[in-house]
């Protein structure tokens, strides 16, 4: 698969992502409306809601994801070492300089987001900067920049916000039906029902996110990154270090997990369902084989 195939593939996935999210939210609106006697009004409301929601997520998804992660933007003077490294790699890849953010946490992780090359955002944790050697960090940054260059970031970020919203809704309904039902039986009834429907459908939503994610994409970003630094061993060593790091990230949800270079979720009911990342050993093996 070449870069151009990947870009075309990403467009297709973005379309399907929007399509299925629309379908699910509108049918939920239809069901919700049916309980109040007017299913078409429910569907219409849901339709208007999705239009607004998808416009917002198209333009602000990166901001939403950044807000969830708790990342802070940096200037050149805050960290010239990191800043220059990103500048250099961008020159090598021929892409505009993305905004650079740091998450002030000791865990080792990184991700890229934004809706296109010109609005790219690169995020690394403080732990990553502190624990990785020069060429290892360069490997990780090159991997993330390849996600920006291959236009992976749009579909990955939209998946986080669009399909993520449904996953979060399911989560909220499930929790409220579990603990809130004894106090308010009357309104609890419909919440329980919606929660149950969402819970039954959640494998479908997980599938939706998986639709946007492909393991192929991680492998491609690995090899494109290695091509950029001309030193695959750097990323291989970095992946080894990152995979051995036991520290979990604090601010991460099921919906944003697939953005990171390493899955930041270690346990929980969603973790196994969302196997968004290829095994690290396999990635290291492929890097060393090239």
């Amino acid at each position: 698969m070449t870069l151009y195939h990947q870009i075309a593939e990403n467009r297709r996935r973005t379309f399907f992502l929007f399509f299925f999210t629309f379908l699910i939210i509108i049918s939920l609106g239809y069901l919700f409306g049916a309980f109040y006697g007017d299913s078409y009004a429910g569907a219409l409301l849901a339709f208007i809601f999705t239009i607004f929601y998808s416009l917002i997520s198209y333009f602000f998804s990166a901001n939403i994801v950044l807000a969830i992660s708790g990342a802070k933007p940096i200037e050149k003077k805050d960290n010239p070492y990191l800043y220059r490294m990103v500048e250099n790699l961008c020159i090598g890849a021929g892409i505009p300089l993305p905004k650079i953010y740091i998450i002030d946490e000791p865990a080792l992780n990184a991700f890229a987001t934004g809706r296109d090359q010109n609005h790219g955002v690169l995020v690394v944790t403080r732990g990553l900067l502190e624990s990785l050697e020069n060429e290892e960090l360069e490997g990780v940054l090159a991997h993330e920049l390849s996600h920006i260059q291959n236009q992976d970031i749009r579909v990955m970020t939209l998946a986080a916000v669009l399909a993520g919203a449904i996953v979060m809704l399911a989560d909220i309904f499930l929790r409220s039906s579990r603990w809130g039902s004894s106090r308010s039986r009357k309104s609890g009834g419909i919440l329980i029902l919606i929660g149950l429907i969402l819970a039954l459908l959640s494998p479908l939503f997980a599938q939706l996110i998986k639709l946007a994610i492909s393991r192929q994409r991680e492998f491609l970003a690995d090899s494109a990154g290695a091509l950029l630094t001309r030193y695959p061993e750097g990323l291989a060593k970095a992946l080894e270090k990152i995979s051995k790091d036991p520290m979990p990230l604090q601010n991460v949800s099921e919906a944003t997990a697939h953005l990171y270079i390493k899955n930041p979720l270690t346990k929980g009911m969603f973790a196994s369902m969302f196997s968004t990342h290829p095994p690290v050993e396999e990635r290291i093996k492929r890097l060393r084989a090239s």
């Binding site: 500048e87 090598g92 021929g94």
Partner: protein
């Protein structure tokens, strides 16, 4: 169908192919030119740093006139370079001259300790890294362009359409050698 029809069909196909080829060549050539502008920006930045560097060094090491001359000469050659080849030569010359300058600077502890000098040294090495990355990007684009021009049947038409192979930007063997460490 008569012979003329066949001839017309073949001619039409050739013209269509020429259109397609011309557009691909223009696209690839524009990419090469854009990549070159990335190198040019960094080369200019490098040249801009030199006068400041020379002023700083002169403050501590007045007697190294020969070295200053070499650096200045290389800098003007770089600024006056008209082609990829000339830029490449001037840049390699500048790299060599600067190497001598920094080696000589080792003899002047006050100069080495100066903040201004350290900062300039830092900026210059950053620029050199950026030139290396810009070169990688440029050479990648040149490779794609040259492959397009030289492969069959494009090679038959490319020169007729006025396209020539682009030049790679190379580092001289001498400069790409690792510096020897002596104790």
């Amino acid at each position: 169908m008569s012979i003329t029809n066949y001839v017309l069909i073949v001619l039409g196909a050739i013209v269509l192919f020429a259109f397609w080829l011309y557009n691909s060549l223009v696209r690839a050539k524009t990419r090469v030119e854009e990549a070159w502008s990335h190198i040019d920006v960094q080369l200019n930045r490098r040249a801009d740093l030199i006068p400041n560097l020379l002023e700083t060094v002169k403050g501590y090491a007045k007697h190294e006139k020969g070295i200053f001359e070499n650096v200045t000469k290389a800098r003007s050659a770089l600024l006056g370079a008209k082609s990829v080849k000339e830029s490449e030569e001037a840049d390699n010359m500048l790299t060599g001259a600067l190497k001598t300058l920094f080696a000589v600077a080792e003899n002047y502890p006050n100069l080495k300790a100066s903040d201004n000098f350290k900062e300039l040294q830092d900026e210059l090495s950053d620029t050199e890294n950026k030139i290396a990355y810009a070169r990688q990007f440029y050479n990648g684009n040149v490779r794609d362009f040259n492959i397009l021009i030289k492969s069959f049947p494009n090679v038959l038409l490319a020169s007729v359409l006025g396209f020539k192979a682009a030049e790679f930007f190379q580092v001289s063997q001498e400069n790409s050698k690792k510096p020897e460490v002596k104790f």
